[in-house]
Symmetry: C2
Subunit: 150 residues, 2 copies
């Protein structure tokens, strides 16, 4: 049995954890195949935009030589922030699947609820709470370890 896209995204999040990055992972799927995969790479890359979602969107676009991903789906372990939400809208991604909800930093179901604004030109179908427990547990453990190390 192969991994589901979200399980693959969780693996990317685990790799990010080991690299001391906030453990979020993402994959882009097209025609049943994963065409891009990444975890967060912010601190190690000195890239404030290095969220997993931004990284896989850029990878997928470069691969397909386009800026539109209309026949692609994004799977990410955490509800995207407003930056990533707008990037998702810009690429016209078909479906967005996310794991844990993010009441503090999310931009889809929380905060600006970006896809609901009239200025948002594209609203992918959104499915939240996929493998929610596993996705959230990684984040909880990461921040608990950070706090105990302080």
């Amino acid at each position: 049995m192969g991994l589901t896209p979200m399980q693959y995204a969780i693996e990317q999040a685990q790799l990010a954890f080991r690299a001391n990055e906030v453990p979020v992972g993402a994959v882009v799927v097209r025609e049943g195949r994963i065409i891009a995969a990444s975890g967060n790479n912010v601190r190690n890359a000195c890239d404030p935009t290095g969220h997993a979602e931004i990284r896989v969107l850029r990878q997928a676009c470069l691969l397909l030589k386009t800026t539109w991903l209309i026949d692609c789906d994004l799977h990410v372990t955490l509800e995207p922030c407003p930056m990533c939400a707008q990037a998702i809208a810009l690429t016209h991604i078909r479906h967005l699947y996310f794991g844990a909800y993010d009441p503090k930093g999310g931009g889809i179901e929380h905060g600006p609820r970006l896809f609901s604004l009239p200025c948002c030109h594209h609203h992918p179908e959104v499915f939240g709470g996929i493998e929610e427990e596993a996705c959230a547990e990684l984040l909880t453990r990461f921040f608990a370890e950070k706090r105990s190390a302080e």
Copy 2:
């Protein structure tokens, strides 16, 4: 007489225009010096996140080996979209100067008004309408040429 940072950003927008990109330009200034400069590079780079602001924030962070730009200012010819607004907040930029207002796509004074949301951890000082006419004229001309070519 040297150029002001916004005039330099306009030059970057003009270069983007010539490259058939939406003519927006940006610079990051630190201690009176421009440390990063770019125009939009979306279509040519197949990068949906290749807005001028994202590009200069990434450049500046890579140069300074950090993800925080607390002693830096961003000058951009157009009101940033929600993606760029969130990236600006993430870097803790000190001041944001922008040229033209963007009622349709802007995320600062329009749309989600991102810096005003309680979930936004950093709110730079914002100065809009700098060299507004020159910044807006480039965009108007670009889109007029696009329409007439259709």
